[in-house]
Assembly symmetry: D3
Homo-oligomer: 286 residues x 6
């Protein structure tokens, strides 16, 4: 009986958070760092399902660099990164698409759908979702692209019909060619295009640190302004820059709050959203 | 961190139940026995709010015999019960209405609405919800009534507009006169009329017992058939008969499951609906 | 046959007025002075029903001071007015609510619903309709309140679903406490919040007089400007001030016309709305 | 004041009838006999407008034999009737259409629309409303037709968009040819096709008589069965047979009540529908 | 097989045009010059049907001067034109209406409806579509009118319900009188009122010429500005002025493109809209 | 000009077919045999777009055996077929999914979307579209599956939102595992589930032959009954059996017509649907 009582109390603690997020849209960037085990993937899928059932509309964006590299190696294709960007020739682009769209996307969709038939996978081609063009870069990176425009109609239609869209970060060029696009950027632009209430970057670090070497300097919350100052003061670790840039881009477009969470903690999103203790870094739009 | 992990697990345990009840309608009879303290009332209100937020449509029915008796005594009006039914002359009927509709109903509405503006109070007059006629009874009971018909349109409209209807068990006669109606009966008939998925009777006992004197004989679950046999075998305690009759009436009308719970246990409904351990008696329509 | 012909002509005379008001919203303040007999109440109810059936959306606001006083006296509770406002301690507030919500509101709902199931009663708690706070006043008046905000969603939903809302002038405080609010003020604020086309104050005097002592000085129509001048020139009888203030507040919020009618004349509203001869005072927003 | 009171009472007398017909569909056959003066046409138009404003959906069917004959004579075309049916060669058919659709239909539409923009004229071609074929008849009657099928979609769409359809009794053949069709038949078939609640035949006699020569034998109400017996007993005047057949056809298709009224009495429909004294003959389906 | 291949190619050529016009609204003025043979009328009707089926919303406006004159002559009524405008006394107005509404309008509706039940005929009375007043003119022209206002609701409702409106150019005066209105003007004002994407004037000349005497000077396309200059330079043939004025009025109101086509060429609209070679003159809004 | 005239005629020839198929749903199985060149794929994509634009709802199903085999060979994985079915171990299944979903599906989507943003790719996981289970087979085939159930909601939602669904023939098992499913079977079951009006199998032969060796014995049309007799008489070529079985299954489920076409003929579907000469074999449901 006492056990029951405790459980009831914990469920009740979620109530104000459920109220606060009811009817809101949350874009979740789900990166390779948080895809390391089946248990972890299942934990994230069930978090998404719970969010959906309590009235939140989640939209998932994913990349999948590690599996792309693995497949390319298996096919004896060269793997080369220039400034953190994968050099992507036509053959590599085919592999990128097959792995992201045909494997990782379907895996996420399938894990969510074991709780119901709510997830629908999309890539940038579907409904013309991510219009892209070749990234201008020296040296040439091949089919690495920049976003031209998010055509959000297909997302809005799916959300209105009560589905959870799961998006592979592939862009569609004007001539039908595909582009490999940074998933953090896609998450930020999608959040901007659908005017999401929140964007969450699930990664494999705890969040931002005042001093990365010192774990106790983790920053729980900071304002957009402070964040901007840290960026211009080069106080942010290079690996975190794309995520931080994504957070800032989303906030500039009107998203209220952006989070960087350690997705390897089981149910990280659940804890961040439905309990009082934030577990990562939250950047708020003032 | 360990604490966080435990919380996450408990939230996760609710997931299959939230899935199962998403989109369902649940009629809740909320009786005097579970209105004994402010804390209890708040606990029930927050349970209702949580149910609503996770996609359940709750409909509340309440009586309020104790407060009626208190007010009548204060006004030096005679209080008389015949076979468990309150003799209700015209003056008493006025008091019944004022207390149920003007006091208890508004109190429940107000407690729910502290979490949002979702509850709307109704009595049998509103939208012609409970059409009633005088109960045939010897000796005459005055304005004690039987239900003629539940006109569910106003309920369906409010549910469709996302409100939580809270219903005082007053019936409306053809000439505009009011009738005092047993709230258990109203709950059963409302559940039948709106084809609810579940009806819950919150009372102050644990449920049905094989042998009321022996606490360990509490029945967790029984079928409609078994229940019927117990009734005809007179194995059910007199005080429980209206609730049991309500359960059976609801099941006969197509409601799948009827519950008798001890509403004085904090968050009794939450525990019954969202955890695996049933805490009362469930009668299922097999 | 001649008789028939006359009847046809009278029905036909209503045609241009029915056309003019079709699809309009009319807020009606129904005060104690016009609740003095059953016949009168029935006459007002049938006027409201006729309005509804010819395409007008009526919204009723009522108070009920006389019955409150009667009940308080019956309970040996002190009745005290300070500057026209009822001193309302916690116990009195309970009585106010029970009488307004549990008795008068239901009586009006019931009278209308004898013509169909169109009326639904509301108090300030329902759907969070009337958010209120304690009135600042010296000496302290207890639970007498001012309106913070009309949350019109529940009204709009009910009107869209073709119901006639009947509102008791009780406000809901932030902590769930109730406030006694002047019904004229509620009528004006509700008319403002739902952008009504017309507001009607049914009282027991004919309207405004140039000189109250001289019956022949009744003012049929005056502009908002003239009305304001009369108020600042203190030419208006004290008892009429709340109604006149309500008219002016409504007009300031965009309501086109405000009327003060003698509700004790049978079918006063019918005559005012559907015949050429106005029977009270109309203040127009120029 | 006394005058005002009388008016109020007469308006109030209409209330139960307005309630009873609210939301109902009424098909009105408006024949040449009731088109004899401008005043009469205006009276009928205003009756239709009043019906529309109090929530009834009227659908008007009209013929116009007298004006057709007048125009044909003016054009020196032969006018010939065989068994009450107009022999209609191709040239005559052109005239029939021009007069019915281009003159009479537009006149009725225009009279109604002086009260608002609610009427829309239709002939059998519009939206394929009246599919017809050549009437088999010896001797040949030319372009006189029988109804194949009422395609009610255009009517239902216009009613749903809140218009009053006004229909000229012209049928559309498969090859695009037009047919002259008896307007009583069109009224009956339209009432059947849209499942009207009532059909009214406005003509220039009072109704059915037990004995046509004796005015005091006017029948106020009779059942479908009695009516059928009178028809098979040849007790009905030949001129009334098409109307009576129309009434019976409509009732057989599920219309509850069919009326034959003297449309030359000003506001005949108003008196029939909104007052207690029926002025013509009502045939009821029972 | 080769034949089949050619056909496929021609169908395919239409694809980009179908894409471009999908969901667009096109107003078509269909004048007497293009009504000279049954084959021609059928060709125009089938063009309209094809446009409708591929997702364009066509709205047809027609006049019919030649048939009006013929009927007037048959009735020995005087036919007089003053400055290109038909003097129209009351009797003539009746004929105008009968011929336009009862004959020509129904003929067009019927030709379209042989392909489905999509056309609905309207005149200015229906739904109050064309509010008009007497044209000020010396000498007096009788019932010749100017447009006061297009009340587009009935058009929008019919288009939304998937009908093809076919409009006779008759205006409705305030007192119910009718006016003869230039159909080119009606087309321009209707296109303006419904914010059409394109307006097409089907006439019996090829389009605008730089020099009317020299066929090879036909202008394929010109801008609004150039057109205006030609008008002020009096370089446009008098007979073309109403059409040119209609084009310019439509463009001023926001229509993107206006066309003058030779409607006597079979499937002129089809060729203009669905093939690359324009066959008439297109005026574009810059 | 003569050329123009011819073009107009050919467009006009399509009119009756456009009318007949407007609003219909057509399921298209698009197999490897018709994916042999870029030009061919573009031709099929533009046929689909034209169908969509003229009001048909196409749903595309595709397989892709050749590309799967190519990729498996590249990865040095064994390729083995047993009775025409690909033996598919876990590793092979990954490749099947990546090629079908990540490559071929996206290629088709992309080709269609160059004409607009109308195509959305799906695999059996998305929205739980194709619920499947392991095929019972000796010897074991690994992840080759049979369809349990088509969950058509996601298809219906996408069609209602005006998209063209493009489906990869992958089934989703209960534990989240994937199954390789015959695309002909998926096409037949999808057509059955959404009650399509027509199903088309695009392959690389002309259709059914009475005698496969004799080209002139191609069967243009046959009834379901005849087809059944041919199957039981073993008169059908083994390679055609899955298509013929798909046709018959669809017809049994209520689809009216099933076609087998040679998809290597440019615009084969266009010619089959929009011209009078059928180019393949049509099986009709009696």
């Amino acid at each position: 009986m006492k056990n029951l009582h405790q459980r009831a109390e914990i469920l009740m603690e979620a109530l104000p958070y459920i109220k606060a997020y009811h009817g809101k849209t949350v874009v979740i960037k789900y990166g390779g760092g948080a895809m390391t085990s089946v248990a972890l993937k299942e934990s994230i899928a069930s978090d998404i399902v719970l969010m959906k059932l309590v009235g939140i509309s989640p939209v998932i964006i994913h990349g999948g660099g590690l599996e792309i590299t693995a497949m390319m190696k298996r096919l004896d294709l060269p793997v080369e990164f220039i400034g953190g960007l994968r050099k992507t020739d036509a053959e590599a682009m085919d592999i990128v698409k097959m792995v992201l769209v045909g494997k990782i996307n379907k895996e996420i969709v399938s894990l969510i759908n074991r709780h119901g038939r709510m997830a629908v996978g999309l890539s940038g081609d579907d409904g013309g979702l991510i219009a892209a063009r070749k990234k201008k870069h020296q040296p040439d990176l091949g089919f690495v692209g920049d976003i031209d425009r998010i055509n959000a109609r297909v997302l809005k239609d799916l959300i209105a019909d009560d589905y959870v869209p799961v998006i592979a970060s592939i862009g569609a060029g004007e001539q039908g060619e595909s582009y490999n696009i940074n998933a953090d950027t896609v998450a930020a632009e999608v959040a901007a295009a659908i005017k999401a209430d929140k964007v969450i970057f699930l990664t494999d670090v705890e969040g931002l640190y005042r001093d990365f070497a010192q774990k106790h300097t983790l920053i729980s919350a900071l304002s957009y302004k402070e964040c901007k100052k840290m960026v211009s003061g080069k106080e942010i670790d290079g690996g975190m820059l794309p995520k931080v840039a994504g957070c800032m881009r989303a906030i500039e477009a009107g998203v209220s709050r952006a989070h960087i969470l350690n997705g390897t903690i089981p149910h990280a999103m659940l804890l961040e959203i439905f309990t009082n203790e934030g577990i990562g870094t939250m950047i708020s739009g003032d």
